[in-house]
């Protein structure tokens, strides 16, 4: 048994189709190309069964403050809540949702390519091993051939299973990074909308890194005394995204600071309030507030 070019091609097509199906499960069908839609329809996959997950998650994160006690407590509750007509309208939201969908789409496409490459390498290696087997035993009987085939399939199965551990981990990285990005963008949009009549250069925000934060998160989001560092929201927005940049080029941003980041979204510091070590705020009055802000930028 050898894995032919045709078999490899069938498997590649299967992977393409399955990943397109995954995209459809998570995103609005509008992100799919006409060819992808056609492939799904040809395989009897309905285009109307999709979650539109980015829209729902954006809606949830836009509608609720991080400490709102009335907010949903699970993924299912997020979906139920977001379906009940609470998606915000307007270009700001449409463009944010579209950007986040594209970002997840790109990440899934990259994952798919990695899977295709890994599987192609496993098959190439298996074919090489098969060839060596033939050379060692040119007159193999049919019985021996079927034993050999089973052994061959078992070896491939084992290697594919080993791949799945790595692939699942890649997916976990994608999920955490994309969710952190979405949370940050949705909360930033909320802060902007809440301050529509204010000069945004005077709207100050901070982010709360995890307790065991990496050096980047500490450097970007904590002062030397470990209290959250303040930024005009315009500065974080202006820094754009760290996607695709070397870590020496990373900057403090509103979305995911780096892969695996779970830093809190930007939180607005209310005028007259100061931020405590644990990220909560306490009232200090307006008299010295601007000096306080300047000293914690």
């Amino acid at each position: 048994m050898i894995i032919s070019k045709d078999t490899l091609e069938r498997i590649k097509q299967l992977i393409e189709l399955k990943y397109t199906g995954l995209l459809l499960k998570l995103l609005n069908p509008e992100v799919l190309s006409s060819q992808q839609k056609k492939d799904l329809l040809d395989s009897n996959v309905s285009l109307s069964n999709y979650y539109d997950i980015i829209r729902y998650l954006y809606t949830y994160n836009f509608n609720y403050d991080i400490d709102d006690p009335t907010k949903p407590n699970s993924f299912k509750e997020i979906i139920v809540d977001a379906i009940s007509n609470r998606t915000p309208n307007g270009d700001v939201h449409t463009s944010a949702i579209s950007y986040l969908e594209q970002s997840l789409n790109t990440a899934i496409e990259k994952l798919k390519q990695v899977v295709i490459n890994n599987i192609s390498s496993i098959f190439l290696e298996a074919n090489e091993e098969y060839r060596r087997g033939i050379l060692q035993d040119l007159d193999r009987s049919e019985t021996l051939e079927s034993v050999f085939k089973e052994k061959f399939i078992n070896q491939i199965t084992k290697k594919l299973r080993e791949t799945s551990k790595e692939v699942n981990r890649d997916w976990q990285r994608v999920v955490v990074t994309e969710l952190t990005n979405l949370i940050g963008i949705a909360h930033t949009d909320k802060i902007i909308m809440d301050n529509a009549d204010t000069d945004l250069d005077t709207v100050f925000v901070y982010r709360k890194p995890m307790s065991d934060a990496c050096r980047w998160c500490k450097e970007f989001y904590l002062t030397s005394s470990d209290t959250p560092k303040l930024y005009p929201i315009t500065e974080l927005i202006g820094n754009g995204s760290n996607y695709g940049k070397k870590n020496s080029e990373w900057l403090p941003v509103v979305g995911a600071t780096h892969p695996w980041s779970r830093t809190s979204p930007p939180i607005q510091l209310k005028p007259g309030f100061k931020v405590n070590l644990d990220g909560t705020q306490s009232f200090m009055g307006l008299k010295d507030w601007l000096d306080y802000v300047k000293n914690n930028l």
Binding site: L22, S74, I153, N168, M210, T257
Partner: protein
């Protein structure tokens, strides 16, 4: 630049200690140090868990389909 002292365990070599140190620094630099953290927002943690389970099931199905093609 700060100095660090490395104390070797029994059987540990300078090279293995150096490689472990490089690995730890790389893990920290790439943000991998956060991979066991949880979102403070329980609904987003639940979303993350849902998406992880969805993909695990998806990939298992994909492997089964690939193996079916190979067996036939």
């Amino acid at each position: 630049m700060a100095n660090i002292k490395i104390f070797l365990e029994d059987g540990e070599t300078e090279l293995s200690a150096l490689l472990n140190l490089q690995k730890a620094l790389a893990m920290h630099d790439e943000g991998l140090v956060h991979d066991h953290d949880r979102y403070s927002d329980v609904a987003m943690e639940s979303t993350k868990n849902y998406l992880e389970a969805l993909y695990e099931e998806f990939f298992e199905d994909l492997l089964q389909d690939i193996l079916d093609i190979l067996r036939n």
